[in-house]
Structures are given as C-alpha cells and as structure tokens.
Amino acid sequence: MTAPMSQSAPSWNHEFKPELQVILDAVVEGVCGVDAQGKATFCNDALLKITGYEADEIIGKNLHELLHHSRPDGTPYPAKDCPFHKAIMAHEEARIVGEHLWRKDGICFPTEHYLRPLQPSQGPTCFVATFKDLTEIHQTKAVLRKSEEKFRRILTNMPEVAWTSDRHGRILYISPKVEAMLGYSKPEIFASGRHLWLGQIHAKDFGRVTRAYKALFEKKAPLDEEYRIRRKDGTWIWVHDRAVNSHEENGELRADGFLSDITRRKQAEAELHSQTAFLQAQTNSTIDGMLVVDRYGQKLMANERLAQIFNISPELMADKDDGKMLAYVITLIREPETFLAKVKYLYQHPDETSRDEMELRNGMFLDRYSSPVVDKHGVYYGRIWTFRDITERKRNEDKLQQLSLAVEQSPVSVVITNPQGEISYVNRKFTECTGYTAEEVIGSNPRVLQAGHCPKELYHDLWSTITQGRVWHGEFCNKRKNGDIFWEAATITPITNPKGAITHFLAVKEDITERRALEGQLRHAQKLEGIGQLAAGIAHEINTPTQFVSDNLTFLRDSWKSIHELLEQYRGAIAKAAAVLPPEVQAALQEAEQHCDLEFIVSEVPRAIDQSLDGAGRVARIVRAMKEFSHPDSSDKTATDLNKAIDSTITVARNEWKYVADLAKEFDESLPAVVCYPGDINQVVLNLIVNAAHAIKEKVQDGDKGRITVGTRQRGEFVEILVTDTGNGIPEAIRGRVFDPFFTTKEVGKGTGQGLALAYTVVVKKHGGKIWFETEVGKGTTFFVALPLQRADSGKEA
C-alpha cells in the first residue's frame, strides 16, 4: 500500500503534510477530495484498493465518469441522474446508499458513499468524499438469504418437525413435515391452539411431558422427552421432543424444539429390550459362570453364576478391573501356574478359542471355555470366558471310568450276555483265559466254551435259576480256544431293569484250574499221608509177628539141622546094629519110615523153612518199602538214597506192573544221595511206573508181557531217573499237553489226569528239576526226571 502512495505522492498536485497522508492511508474507507466539478483532488490507499486504480488515474478525473459511468446492469448512468453528482453540483451534503461503482477491472460493486462539503473549501477541494465497499456486506446477506432458504428446505425436508411455541403450548411455528408426522396440516395445528399437540399426548406420558415443558420455561431446563402421541388417523406414534432452552421474543418466552418420530426406534428398542432381557436372563440363569473382558483388561460383563462359582464378593464383582478378580480367582485354583499361563497365552492370541478342564482347591472341577468376542466386521472387543461346574459329571465319569476299568482289568473273567445268552461284553481276563478275542465271542453263546465234561443238569439248573431272577454259583469245566481244559468258578447274576425284567446276565468267573489241580494234589498228598500213617501203624502190627515168625523159623531151621543130624546118627546106629535088632523091630521101623515118608520130609522140611524165612523176609521188606514209600516222618527235604527209594516204590507198585511187564532195574550203584522230598519223588516214580504199566497194557495181548526199565544215573550236576516202557508211545498230537492238569487219555475213572501234572509240579516247582520224555509211536516212551544234586548246598556255599 506504500508503493502507490510513494508513486502517487510526487504527482499529487496538493501538498499534504506527510503525517496527514499517513493518517489518511490508515483509514479503512476510501477517502478522496472532490473539487467543484466533481474531479478528484486527492485520495488515500483504501480508495485505490477499492477501485483498483492508481492514484494518478483517479486524481484530476471526474469521479462519476471514472467510477459511476454505468448502472449495475451495464446501461449508461447519465450524470444528471446521479445523486452524488447532483449533490456536488448543489454543493450539498449527501449520503448515498445502494449505488454501484465500477472498478478499473470492470467489476461493479455496491457502495455507500458520503459527501461532505468543506466550509471553506481547501484550495480546489470543496468536498471530502468517503466510500465504503459494501461487497462483503452484500455477499453476507446473500449467503444469509441462501442459508435461510437452505434452512427452510431442510426444515421442510428433514424427518424431524421443528417447532416454536409459547409457554402455554400454543404453536407459533411448526415446520411443514408435521403433516407427514402427525397427519395434521400446519393451519389445522395453528388453529387448534394447543389441542392438536399437548392434547394428543398419551395419558400415561402427559403428566411427565407437561412437567418437563413447564420446567423448560420456568427453570430453563432442557426438554428431552420421549412420549406417545396420537396421529390424526388415530394411530399412536412415539416421538422424541427436545428443546434446549427458552428465549424471549417480543416480551414473551418462546421455545424452539424438534420433534422426531422414534416409533421405529422404539419398536427396535423394545425388541432389543426384550432381547436384552432375554440375554440377561439367559446370562444370569445359565449354569455357566461368564465373564467378558475387553482388550484392556476391563470387565465388560460378569454374571451372578461366576460370583457363585468362585465365591466372588460383590465389591470385586463391581470392580471393572479384571486383574483384581483374576488375582483372587488364582488363589482358588489347584494348578494356578497352568491357568495363568493359559490366560496369558490367550490374551496374546486373541483369535484362539480354547477349552479345558481345571480343578479348584476345594475339589470343584470346571470346564473352562474361552473365545474371542468379535463383531460381524471382525472387530475384536475382548474375550468371553465361561466356567461350568462339572464336578459331579467329573465324579461320575471318574466313578464310571473306575468301574469300567475295574471290570476290564478285573482278575476274574467278566461276561455280560443279553437275556438270550448272547455275549455282549467280555473283559480282558476272559480273553486271556479262554484265548478267544472279544470280537470272536461277542454275539455268540458262552456254550462255545463248554468242554462237554459237565452234566446237562448243571446247565439246566443254571438256566432255570437265573431266568427266575436268582443268582447262580457253580463250577464249570470249560475248554480254551486251543482245546485246553480249564475249570471256572462262576457266579451268574441276572441284571434287571427297574420294572424287574431281566435285561442282562452278568457272569463273573474265576479260573480255578490251578486251585483244583492243587486241591487234587493236596487230596492226593493227604491220601498218601493217611496211607503213610496207616502204613506205620500196620508196620508195627506186622513187624511184631514177623519178628517171632522169623525167630521161630530160624529156630526150626537150626533145630531141624540138629534133628536131621541126630536122625542120621540114629539111622547109622540102627544100620550098624541091624544084626542085633529083632526083625520085627526093623520091619516096624521101616514101615514107620515109609509111613511118614521120611525121605520126603528130609528133603522138603529145610526147603519149607527156607521158603518161609524168605516169605517172612519179603513181608518185612514190603512193610519197610511201604513205610519208606509213604515217608510219614519226613516233610522236609532230606538227603535220599534214590536207588533205595525207587526200589521201595517198585516193590509197592508191584501189583500194577507184574501182570503186564517184567521190570528191570538199572541203578547206578555209585549214585550220590540227593537232597529231596522223598515222599514226593516216590510218588512221581510211582506215577511213572503206573503210566508205563498202563501204556504196555494197551499194547500187549493177554498173557504177553512188555518191559519196564527203571534206571538211575548221574549227569553232571543232576541225578536222573529214567522210566522206560515198551508201550505204544505218545501220539504227536498230545505230546505238548501231557503235563497239563486234567489232561488224560484214560477212560473216566481210570485216571485223574493229574499224575504227570503232579510229577511236573513236584519235579520242576518243588525241586527245581526237569521232567521230559522221549517217545516213539509203536516203540515206547522214556520219561526222564532230573533232580539237581546238592542244590541247597551249592546255593549256600556260593
């Protein structure tokens, strides 16, 4: 602005003091001096700025011609019509508003200018004119007008209804939308006074709304009410009525407000409300404890159940900080580290869902579920945690699992069948015991196990008992898959439903094969013991007469020898004295000799006595053998002369073999004593000899004889007993089973099937020895019993 000034200043024909020019230039309005012809004599910067001209382009020029040459529409503006010019001419003061001036660039602009004559005139300058550019004011007004129009348009088009009313509720202004909203036209509303507004408010809302309306005017409290109002067609709508304040206009209080139709929102709200209520109810009625925590660790929601489960105090529940609650809950958990780690992990991995079980210190089991809370746009809000008390379920599960494990792993066989007897379940012991897999037997009848040794009555009794709903106990002889016989003690229980109908049968069975075998062996041992005791008693009874029978026979033998010698002497003497003996005496003697058959007596008496002595000796031996065989005195391991023991056994068993076989002994005479249970070993040898005899009996014809060889020998650290027969040998098919308990090839009543099983028990289990056989079909069999020599000693000495 200083530039034009500096340019114009030298060319100015008026001279001002510089201070005056500075003051002029600081004036906002354009100022210029005007001479009597209407020409500019000076001007300030503001005028230059308003008009766009330089100072020298204005000064000396006719202002009308320069700035006011045309009307705003472009038509020429004659000076005679111009009030400014007319005032100059009349040398009058003039205030001119509403004229437009033209800028140098051809733009016209509204001005307000003022002309004031100077008294007296200052040189040529007769007037001072000021110009005010009204462009901005005009523009503002235009904007205002536009905005007013826009506002009206908005009012007309917006869904809300704007209103102005006085304190009585009389409508002073209402926007046109009211018709769409309430059905009444503006004129109807104005005409009705307050009736068509306050009068249509729902009775239930009326009091509240009028109180608020009153407060708006009396207390300047903002109005913000939702209420129901009746439309012209009689339907009810929900409106939201708001007014911030009341103001005074023309001495009266007025209020401007907006009325919105919120019926839809209200409906949605109601819906939401019921939904929320439903959710709330659900949340609080759920058996799960629920907790929603936002990403900042703030509790968004926690239900009552949560408080119950963890026994959380109301204060803690109310606290928004989840950290405090977590700190508390942690103290209740049995494995807090695990839980904390999980929580930490999940907050670090917001997308993950997790579920697991946790145990509280008080024994409660919780099923914990956690998932992120994400809206449909994928925005993560936080995480929901639910905790369900599964203690009972867990206990039941545990119990059930325990029970099922107990059944499955039970040391007894468990079989469950349907009422028809078809197997529906077998446990592991069953499969171990029978050799059948569960798949093989499920659906079939337990009779697949029957060995055919039990009488039909047994099964009949079983079925009639259990079908009457009673429990049956008994023992079966069954067959394993591989054909082995085994014994079971079974308890079969019908399982009934609450109505009493049988739904299943439960069989609990114990393999008692070994027990039966042991019982058998025990019975055998007891029998043997009895025999042993009896033998000892009988031995005494027999030994005593044997003593005197033998003594007497010895005496008779010695006496006969003496008598015979004496007799011979008599006979010799008689022969010598024959010459002197009377013939009748000789004849009588001869007759007497012939009568008693003296020759026979002489030859037979010593033999008779010797044979009797032999017989008595044999009786003594048998008694001793019997006693030694049964060994009633020894229940301990004893160093035993096996040859002697076996010899006794052969003597005792003589009746078993003497008709079918000759028996040869092949004893190693230098056999050392073997530490063993002599009674048991005797029993083993007896069984082997009896079996050998039976094997031969099967083969030989009546009258023929086979051969049994019983031998002993030492083989390293073992002493072996060998029993060989010339029978038929053992068929290949049964070779693997001969030592099994209850396995027998003999007819019922002929054998217990325990002889070799017992031998096995005695030799292997009691003595740590070995028993085996070599056999050839048609040729015979040799059984070997190997007993360790000095077993006890070597164990000790080591």
């Binding site: 033998s550 003594d551 003594a620 391991k637 000095q790 164990g795």
Partner: protein, 406 residues
C-alpha cells in the same frame, strides 16, 4: 562167665521166638524173658544183669521209661530197644535212656553181633566205675566254638547239609553221637553207617536240627573249665589224625567207604580222653600232668585201663560199626586186633603216631609207631610215603575261641 540178658516184651510169641532163635547163644548168654516193665524191674532187683533188650510199646510202662529207670538204678548195664515201631518220636524218646534202638523184625544175628561186640569191649574194661560212667553217658561234650557254630547254622532258614557236615567233622562228640543215631533204627536196617556225611544224609538236616536244638543230643564243655586251654589242642590233634588217616587210606587205594571210615576212626580215636576230661577232669588232669611214662601207661596205672578201651567201650555200646570200635580200641597196639589187612585201624595208628610225634601237647604225644605190626601187614616200606602225607598244622589253633573266653 556167661552174660546175663533180660528180654522184655508184652508179646509172648516175640519172647518165645527170641528164646528159640537165640537158643544157640545159650552157652555164652544166660537169657531171661519177661512180659512187661514191672516184671523186668523185679527181675533186676533179684539179680544183676549185663544187658536189657526191651520192646518200646508196652502197656503201663513203655520201653523208654523202663530203660530210664534201668539207667538210674543199674547204670552200668547195656540198654537196647527192639521195637516194631520206628516213628521218630519213639526214637527221640529213647535216645536218652537207650544205647541203641533196633527195629523189628531184627535178624537174630544182628542182635547177637551188636550185643557181643558190646560185651567184648566191656570185658576189656576192668574198672567198674568207668563202666558205670560210660554207660550213663548221654553225650560227649563238644568244643563250645563248634557247638555254637553248629547251632547258628542250624537256626538258619535252610541249613546246608555240607556245612553242617563240615562242622561235625571237626568235633569228636558230635561225630560220635551222629554215628550212634545213624546206626539206630532211624532209617531202616540197611547196614551199618561209618561215614558222617552218609549218616547226616540219612538222618536229614531237618531231623539233625530237631535233635540238636530241641532234643539236645549234643552238649558242650563249660567254657570256664580249667581245661579250656588244652581242649582245642586235643581237637586239633583229632582233626589232624582223621585227615591224615583218610589220606593214608586213599593212598593205599582203599575204597571210598574205607577212606571215610578211616577219617571217622581218626576223629574218634581219642574219644576216651574226651570222656575222661568231661567226666573226671581233675583226676585225669592229675594223670596227664604228673608221673612218668606214656599217657596210656599212666592211665592204666591209675585207672586200670586206657582211654582207648574207654572210648572203644562207649563206641561199642552206642552201636558204632566194629571197624571203628577196633580202630579206637587198638590204636596204640594194633597187633592186638589180630587183623591181617590194611584197615582203618592201620590208618589211624599210623596217622596218630605221625601226628603225635610233632604235637607239642604231652597229652597227644602218647604213641610209637608199631613197626612189627606194619611188618605183619607187609606195609613197613609204606611208612615213609605216609609220613610224606602229613602236613603239620601251620600254627597250633589254640585260639578256637575257648582260650579267649577264659
């Protein structure tokens, strides 16, 4: 003078049978037969007897009780049981009162042999007091250390036979007792037993345990005895002789049985000394500590007999097999046994002579090798070989535990 024998049995037929079958002994034996214990005791009151042979099971008073009374009233008699019952209980009950237990039916020859053997040894013993002492003797005391070792072994869960045999093979008293039991009717009459291992096997470890721990068939010297210091030396000597005798027998190609017999005989050869030490310790101590001449001379001088005869008599009435009795009886003067072949007696005599020569204890040093006896057997040149078999004990085992306790 014939021996007087009393037979007791409630079965007259048995008595008749014995009377008849033993009729052949009528020249040597004067036999009386009574039907019960009461009659037996009555007969004993009226006249002295040398031996009594009784049945076990009898009414009113059984054989064990009878023999117990006989032992009290007539302690020098030889007491035998002849019973048809051979249960262990009966045997246990008779161990204390009876010297031997024979089971029916018993061959008369066996009976005669056993009794004759006892009588023969009895005749060698002139000292009546000693006869009584020996007949009354229930057991020969053992060395306390060995006794404790044995009882400790037997108290174990499953005592080993060989371990027990090892201990018993070192003790004179135990060995003698085991042989007595093994030769009774424990295991039937299948010959006489001279081997300790065989005897123990026949009896069985379990029975040995019962006998030792419950029946107390063994006894031991009093550890506080003034003899305590010398006992181990005597034991060492017995063990040394037994071991050498066995080696000599083996060296002479004897049977295994004879080798074992020699071992046992060696162990038992001085059993008389042990009896004397146990039964008359002061007298016997005086004998071996005072006077001059060999021990057996001093014994004969003071007792009228030697430890050899004393031991032999005890062994004979205990039913120990004759070869062992002979070895004990004649180990100083083997010629008197009138044997013509190498026998356990030979082995023991030689072993004793060799071992004694190097023994420091005077009590053990009592014998000279009988060279004329060896000449009679044609074995003189073997002497050097046998001496070579001897290995002197490395150090006198005087610390077997006893001396330490004194």
């Amino acid at each position: 003078m014939p021996k007087r024998l009393l037979f007791v049995d409630d079965e007259p037929n048995v008595l008749d049978g014995l009377r008849r079958s033993l009729h052949g002994m009528r020249k040597d034996w004067e036999m009386h037969f009574v039907g019960g214990a009461a009659a037996a005791l009555q007969a004993l009151e009226q006249a002295p007897y040398d031996a009594v042979v009784s049945d076990m099971r009898m009414p009113v008073m059984d054989g064990a009780e009878l023999l117990d009374q006989v032992k009290q009233g007539y302690p020098d008699m030889v007491r035998l049981i002849l019973s048809g019952q051979s249960s262990r209980e009966a045997v246990y009950r008779s161990i204390a009162p009876a010297h031997q237990y024979l089971s029916k039916p018993c061959d008369p020859r066996e009976l005669v042999a056993r009794l004759s053997q006892a009588f023969a040894m009895r005749d060698l013993l002139s000292n009546q007091t000693l006869k009584t002492v020996i007949s009354r003797l229930r057991s020969i005391p053992s060395l306390p250390t060995l006794y404790e070792e044995l009882t400790a072994s037997l108290r174990k869960e499953d005592p080993s036979l060989s371990q027990i045999a090892k201990i018993i093979s070192k003790d004179v008293g135990m060995a003698a007792k085991i042989l007595q039991l093994a030769n009774s009717a424990f295991v039937g009459a299948s010959g006489r037993v001279s081997s300790l291992v065989q005897g123990l096997s026949l009896i069985g470890t379990e029975t040995v345990r019962t006998l030792v721990l419950s029946v107390h068939v063994f006894s031991q010297f009093d550890g506080k005895s003034h003899l305590a210091a010398i006992l181990p030396a005597i034991w060492d000597h017995s063990v040394a002789v037994s071991s050498l005798a066995q080696r000599i027998a083996v060296c002479e190609n004897s049977s295994k049985a004879m080798a074992e017999e020699s071992f046992t005989a060696g162990l038992l050869h001085d059993v008389g000394k042990v009896v004397l030490l146990a039964e008359m310790p002061r007298e016997y101590q005086a004998i071996f500590e005072q006077g001059s001449g060999s021990i057996q001379d001093r014994e004969r001088e003071r007792l009228g007999c030697t430890h050899a005869e004393i031991g032999a008599y005890l062994m004979s009435i205990w039913g120990i097999p004759l070869p062992l009795v002979h070895a004990v009886a004649f180990h100083h003067h083997p010629s008197e046994a009138a044997e013509t072949h190498f026998s356990p007696l030979t082995a023991v005599h030689v072993a004793d002579a060799i071992a004694s020569a190097s023994d420091g204890l005077a009590l053990n040093h009592d014998i000279e090798m009988d060279m004329s006896y060896l000449d009679s057997l044609g074995l003189r040149e073997r002497e050097a070989v046998w001496r070579g078999l001897y290995t002197a004990p490395a150090a006198p085992q005087k610390d077997l535990g006893l001396s330490a306790k004194v």
